[in-house]
Structures are given as C-alpha cells and as structure tokens.
C-alpha cells in the first residue's frame, strides 16, 4: 500500500450557534495515500468544505487529529499553520481569486515571496508553473485580460509553485463552462499522474468526481462510502 499522506482520526468539528451546538463533522476517519486523487461529494452542509479546510490547515478541529506527512497540524498555532500552508499545501478555489492589479506571473509568485528564494529562482519556479498549466505566453497578462479557464489555470499554477505535497480544490470547476471545466480536470489529472501531486477535491459535479481516482460521499458529517 502507498505511503499515507493525510491521516484524519476521530475528527469532529462543532460550531456553537447560541445555545445550540452544530456538529459539522462527526468522529470522522480518513486516510489519503500519497499521489491519490480523491473527490469528496455530498449535499450542501454535509461538511465537505469543512473537512477540506481542516486538511488544508485553514481551520482547527474541535476534537480528533489531522496529520499530514506525519505532522500533527491540528496542534499548530495560527503562525505555525501559516508557515505550514506556505510550503505544504496548495489551494484552488471556485472563483480563482487572483489579485486584479498583478500580472499572472506576479500572482503565481505570491507564495514564493514568503520564501528565501532569490528573484531569479522565483522567476524560474514561476516559469515552470506557467509551463505546467500551459500559460507561458500569458505571463504578463492581468486577470481581467484572461478567460475564466485561464484564470483558473493561473490559480492552479499559484497553488503549484511552491511544490506542495497536496492540492486541495474547492469546486475548482464550479464557475466554468463544460469544455473549460474538462480542460481544468484534465490539467488536475495530469498534475496527479505526471507530477505525482496528491489531490483532494470537493465537488458537486459527478463528471468532475469521475475524473478522480476515487470518490467519497459525506452526509451529515459522516463518510457514507
């Protein structure tokens, strides 16, 4: 069996709403091997995005543990989590969220500004990421000069550029037309197959889920398949 990258044990996430306690994730266990490509599906409010956020180090659990590559990220404080995110995880969101003032190249470079890499090294990394997503000729374009699919490719390049172990994608094709969505899914496949990236994707789209190696369903905070 492949080495385990993500190890989630007895994970619970609760929110307080006045006197009421809302259990979003209920004693959940999940293991994701390295180079896996896992699609998480489920109805709205099932806890998919919450699980994604916990694995991506954007949130902390109420109970249980989350280990990534053997590191207990649930025990990290805010500063440690920020540092961890900078090098270990790449996020791809539905709305790309590129900074409008910056060119594609500068947007992709953003995570690298937190490292000690020289300007030249950063440029090289950005070029590599742009090559992978097939946008070398759009490096100097601003987001408003790019199509939705191209913007999502830039966002993928931004997620890739610091060479993280895992890419977490929250509805990456949710804002794209079918053809463009297929292109993005092909790109994610390529990142998984050719570049060995572990991918965890939350989606409502069965077509998108089909492109993953496997799918899991969440309902009311529990894995059902």
């Amino acid at each position: 069996m492949s080495e385990i990258l993500v190890d989630v044990k007895n994970l619970t996430k609760e929110y307080k709403r006045g006197d009421e306690t809302l259990v979003v994730l209920d004693n959940l266990n999940l293991q994701i091997p390295k180079q896996d490509y896992l699609a998480l599906m489920g109805p709205s409010g099932s806890g998919k995005s919450t699980l994604l956020n916990l694995i991506g180090g954007l949130d902390t659990p109420s109970n249980g543990s989350v280990s990534i590559n053997g590191e207990r990220i649930d025990q990290m404080n805010s500063k440690q989590l920020s540092n961890w995110r900078a090098t270990n995880v790449g996020f791809i969101f539905q709305f790309y969220n590129l900074l409008p003032v910056l060119s594609a190249q500068k947007n992709i470079e953003l995570p690298l500004l937190l490292t000690n890499l020289s300007n030249k090294q950063r440029k090289k990394h950005v070029e590599t990421a742009l090559n992978i997503v097939g946008l070398s000729d759009r490096a100097s374009h601003k987001p408003n000069e790019l199509s939705g699919g191209q913007q999502q490719r830039v966002a993928i390049a931004r997620a890739l550029v610091s060479d993280p172990d895992i890419l977490v994608c929250d509805e990456p094709t949710g804002d794209l037309d079918r053809d463009t969505a297929t292109e993005i899914l092909n790109l994610l496949n390529s990142l998984n197959e050719d570049h060995g990236k572990t991918i965890l994707m939350v989606t409502h789209d069965p077509t998108a889920a089909d492109s993953a190696k496997r799918s899991l369903h969440l309902d009311k905070g529990k894995l059902t398949t």
């Binding site: 920020s82 969101f93 709305f95 003032v101 910056l102 931004r158």
Partner: protein, 385 residues
C-alpha cells in the same frame, strides 16, 4: 514582499486612491503654507530677538503716544544702559504702499536697534543733515529712489509752515531682517519734533538696552507698574513679546490657524480611515487568499498599515513639496519682503512628515486589525472564494 501587497491594494481602485492622495496633498499644502507663516505668530521673524527692550503705549500700540518724560524715567534706571526712541509720522494707512512710512529716530537708534544696518558713511551723512533720511532697501527698490534724491512725502502731520508734505534728502540706505522692516524711511527725530505742529513732546515707542537681559521681566514689570494708573500706561517687553502682544490685539491668529489645520487633518483622517476600511472590506477575498497561501495575520496587518502610510505619505511629501516650491515664489512675488517672515524649512517638513506617519497609522490601524482578524473560513463561508 510588502511592496507587492501594498501595490496590489493601492492600485486596485486607482481613482479612489488618486482622489484620497489628492485630498492629502491639498491638506498638507495648506498645512505647509499656514505653518510657513509661523514666525509671524511667534514674533520671532528674521532677527527679531528677546534682547531688545521696547516700551509702547499699553492701550493703543499702533497709534498711541508716550510722553518724552518716560525717556527720562528709563534713563534713571540703573540697569538701563542705552535709550533710543522712534516716532511714526501719521499717515493715511491706505496710501502707505504709495507713500512709505516715515520713522523719526533718535540719535542712538542704531546702537539700540542693532539689527538695522547702515554704512558709517551713510549714518554720518544722515546725522549731519537735519532733513536727511535713510531709506529702507526694500522701499528704495520699490520707489526707485536713490541716495542724493530729494523726496516729498505727504502725511497727516502738519508742519509749522502749514504744509503736510515733508521733504527729505536721502543720505543712505539701511537694511534689516525681516526685509518687510525695510519698507520705510528713517528721518531725524530732532527735526520732526521741531517742525511739526501736533504731538510735540511725545513719541511712538521707546527702545532700550539692559546691562543684563535676565532682568528683562523684572524691569518690564516694574516699569509698567509705575505707569499703570497714568494716562500714559505702558506695555514694556522685548521685541518678541511686543510682536506677540500686537498680534494678540488683532486676535489669536495662531489659535485660529491651528484650529483650521486641526479640522482639516481630522476630516482627512476620517476620510482616509473610511477609504481604507472600505478598501479592506472589498478585498476580503484577496486577503483570505493571501492567508491561505501562508501569509501570516501580522504580515497582512503590516501590509495594510504600509498601504495607509503609502497613500498619506505620498500625499504629504507632494503637498509639502509644493509648499517648498511655493514659499520662495511668494517671497519672489513680494520682492523679498516675506524673507524671514514666511519660512518653510526642514523642521516644518520633518514635522509634517511625522504628522503624516501618525495620521496614516491612525487611519490604517482599524482596517489593519480587521484584516488581521479575518479568517479564511469566514470568507469561504460567505462564498467569496
């Protein structure tokens, strides 16, 4: 790293940033111009200093009179080393730009008021001629008069012969700082006293030196106490005190100007803080993305503060720069008369920039804290990512 973040914030809404910067420029330009006139309000323009003592009429400093017996009184005080006096011939204040003011000075005037300079040759010629005059350099430049000219100046002071036009021979030129004090003509008091019909036996002000400037307050108080119940009550003090008193008679101009500047800055602070706050709210998704990429809360906090500093300091530097360009132009346009009176120096610039930093920090701190507290999951929950 921070420059990229600042740039991403400032240039996101270019027009808004530009307009905010323009308002900052205007505010600091106004600050610069008003503060450049500070020497006027402190009474310390040019070479005016605290060592030259002046006695003036208490209740009407501009046009009041003092009896010459006050001179005798001053000369009787042990600590007073030298006494001089000056009298201004009554003139139509509206025509003073056309007809320069005439100051009748006593023989020791230049020794007591040593900031007024004239060559020995000019002074000798002046004191040898009863109707001689020393012309201020600025006045000479404006009127085009020169040494050797015989000038006629109409006044409200009537002479014994019934005429109100006084004639003087220009024997030399005097200079001083501030240059505005060169807008006059000095004539012999002895001659004026003898030739005029009214105000005989009185002077406009009496000037004196002390053997020890430290005694200034004590002696001033004692002199003013002595005349407080007299018809000729006095106000005695050094040049700076007197300048301030004369300004205070008009009104607390410094307080008015400080209030205007404070109101401008306070409004600007609210405008900038609101702009920054709005900008941060609009960029919730950008800031959340940065945090998801690994940017720490404190780095985001600092970047917002730097952004606020960038907008305000650029505005402050440009505004103060305009002042630095404008003040010499004003001086040039005034023919150098404002030199020493309107001054904008490195101290004022530094003070302006420090005010800018303070304002930027105040305007930016709440939005920066908003950004600091922002949680990526909250932005996700709002469907922004």
């Amino acid at each position: 790293m921070y420059w990229v973040l600042v740039k991403a914030g400032v240039f996101r809404k270019k027009i808004r940033s530009l307009l905010t910067t323009l308002s900052v420029i205007v505010a600091f330009f106004l600050y610069g111009l008003l503060h450049s006139a500070d020497p006027l309000f402190t009474g310390a323009a040019g070479e005016i200093n605290a060592e030259r003592m002046i006695m003036m009429p208490k209740h009407d400093m501009m046009f009041g009179r003092l009896p010459q017996s006050h001179i005798n009184y001053l000369e009787s005080i042990d600590s007073v080393t030298k006494v001089a006096w000056i009298d201004m011939l009554s003139m139509d204040i509206n025509s003073m730009t056309e007809n320069i003011p005439i100051f009748a000075i006593s023989n020791d005037y230049f020794e007591v008021m040593d900031r007024f300079k004239a060559s020995d040759e000019a002074k000798n010629a002046f004191f040898s001629n009863r109707t001689g005059a020393l012309l201020g350099k600025a006045a000479a430049d404006i009127k085009g008069w020169k040494v050797g000219d015989l000038v006629s100046i109409p006044t409200y002071s009537v002479k014994n012969d019934g005429s109100n036009v006084w004639e003087f021979y220009i024997e030399g030129i005097y200079t001083t700082s501030p240059a505005a004090d060169e807008l006059g003509i000095m004539v012999r008091h002895e001659y004026v006293e003898e030739a005029r019909v009214a105000n005989k036996g009185t002077v406009s002000m009496i000037l004196f030196n002390l053997d020890d400037p430290a005694k200034a307050d004590q002696i001033s108080n004692s002199i003013d106490d002595n005349f407080k119940n007299s018809a000729y009550a006095t106000f005695t003090g050094n040049e700076i005190t007197l300048s301030q008193k004369m300004l205070a008679d008009i009104g607390d101009i410094k307080l008015i100007i400080t209030s205007i500047i404070s109101a401008v800055f306070f409004t600007l602070l609210l405008v900038t803080a609101n702009t920054m706050s709005q900008s941060v709210r609009e960029r919730t998704s950008d800031l959340a993305i940065l945090k998801s990429l690994g940017y720490r809360d404190m780095q985001i906090f600092i970047s917002i503060l730097l952004e606020s500093n960038f907008i305000i300091l650029i505005g402050a530097i440009v505004g103060l720069g305009f002042t630095l360009i404008t003040v010499p132009l004003i001086d040039q346009a005034s023919g150098g008369l404002t030199g020493g009176v309107i001054v904008f120096d490195s101290y004022q610039v530094t003070k302006g920039i420090l005010i800018g930093v303070l304002m930027a920090s105040l305007a930016g701190i709440l939005p920066a804290y908003q950004a600091y507290k922002l949680k990526v999951v909250d932005a996700l929950a709002k469907g922004l990512l």
